[in-house]
Subunit: 313 residues, 2 copies
């Protein structure tokens, strides 16, 4: 007898996260069977080569008899995928996801989720800049945070489902926290969405200058720029959907960022070294808090957990 | 008999770079004797503990009889330091530096440099976010670029001095390139100065939100934010001086960045997924060029060459 949380787990969308969950379950347990599906037949074929999981031909076949279904597609298609599977979902199953935004994700899934299925949106704060089934690896979630945003309170059966899902994520190495979807989207706007937008933007700015600078942007990228290119190498489709689905929080955070940047720009223009010094100095405080929390070590480093330069090309 | 380029090397300013040069010379050669000096007596004492080099009590004592003098202080005090040592510099010596800006650095050193001393400004594209003599290590320059910005052309003795300095940097592991100081400052504005300014700014923006978000900014920093905090942990004094001394190129580059960001902001506000997708996708091209150039491997990674979390606190 197995002590897995689920007899059958279905993973829809086989990118970095979907593939990593399948690997993690093989390595650490959590489900007796894993079925995966992707809308792209090319991705399904590649998944069949790298995963020891059942690769289903249709989303419905993947979710049939599954006690837990995890949406790992870009968040922009959650509604369509939920509609595709709604009749195949087993009563009492858990429907969850790994989307980077939670308010619209919850709304889009809820629109098609049968009432006898437990909808519990979630978001693992884990990733690398790599994409595709080949990028997945079992230890991705070890020591990372997983945020669940439960939609119901005081419903015993629902609470039990949340507990089972919590145990599943803990089993594959994550630390689990619950949060309100709206709060999730505001917190992640500053800790993740804005940093990615800024990284994309600085690379874009450099791109327009690069022809002028004859390849020197690449050559001397070790001065700081290179770190931004790594973040900006993340999946464009995923991030387009994040920005379109967390518009308000991102625009609010971006507004603050631009105000602060204007102040630094003014300090540079007027040679105000005191203001620059004050702003630059306080950045170290947050850095120390992150180090103290054990959240930046060589192993925990974003995008550095799994280093395989050959897969980058 | 030694095949070192210099009998005596003097290093003024013992931070990450000064200390790393001293370690590198011990490890790989380049000078028979190394003398170091820092304006802070505390730093001099700490340097005496971590470096096997002669720690001089005064700048003049350090540079006396030195064939090569490297300024490793913040660029804002290059003029003062050059004035301090001008009478102690040996005829025929090389005066160089490691400053991140080159036009004002060259100007400030030239104002006090005797005519029988070869002034050859330089800039190693290497570093970590750590500061102080304890942060230095011998292999920092291995495989990194070192830019020299010679100030004279067609002067045989000067060219010989440039060659000797080139050999010195190659000897401790660097790849050497020459460039016009003005071009250097424009190229570095996008590859290094703007990335640091943006990193400082995003951390600053988060700092103001953090009290509101109850520590969640730190907790969920793995979503991208953490990488910015590492860059923003760099020495505030050094970076203040960089921005004050490369004002025009930084403001020009920042202007382009802000225009581009406004376009992304508009695309988010109006739900223009096509524009977001287009901008995000082209970022991958530069990333691939950096990987292809062998400039991003685990070893070469900025700030990751020397991992010692304990020294971060």
């Amino acid at each position: 007898m197995s002590n897995a949380q689920f007899d059958k787990l279905a993973i829809l969308g086989i990118g970095l996260l979907g593939s990593s969950i399948a690997h993690a379950v093989n390595a650490y347990g959590g489900a007796d069977r894993v079925a995966v599906w992707d809308i792209s037949s090319d991705v399904r074929e590649r998944a069949a080569r790298v995963l020891s999981a059942e690769v289903a031909e249709t989303a419905e076949a993947a979710v049939r008899d599954a006690n837990c279904v995890i949406l790992c597609t870009p968040v922009g298609v959650f509604g369509e995928v939920a509609e595709l599977i709604k009749d195949a979902l087993m009563p009492g199953a858990i429907l969850t996801d790994v989307g980077s935004v939670k308010v619209t994700a919850a709304r889009d899934m809820a629109a098609h989720c049968p009432s006898d299925v437990y909808l519990i949106p979630g978001h693992p704060i884990a990733g690398t800049e790599k994409s595709g089934p080949e990028a997945g690896f079992a230890s991705l979630f070890q020591g990372s945070w997983h945020i669940l945003t439960p939609l119901k309170k005081g419903d015993e059966a629902y609470d039990d489902a949340v507990e089972r899902l919590t145990d599943f994520w803990k089993g594959i190495g994550a630390r689990v926290e619950t949060m309100d979807p709206d709060r999730h989207d505001r917190v992640l706007a500053i800790t993740s969405h804005l940093p990615h937008l800024i990284a994309y933007n600085i690379v874009s700015t450099a791109y327009d200058m690069e022809s002028v600078e004859q390849g020197e942007v690449v050559k001397y990228s070790a001065g700081g720029f290179r770190d931004f290119t790594r973040i900006a190498a993340s999946d464009p489709t995923m991030w387009r959907d994040v920005f379109l689905n967390n518009k308000d929080a991102v625009l609010e955070t971006l507004g603050r960022f631009s105000e602060d940047l204007a102040a630094l720009q003014r300090a540079i223009r007027w040679g105000d070294g005191e203001t620059l010094m004050k702003e630059f100095s306080r950045a170290r405080g947050i850095r120390e808090a992150i180090i103290d929390a054990g959240l930046d070590t060589a192993e925990a480093d974003f995008g550095r957990r799994h280093i395989d330069p050959s897969s980058d090309k």
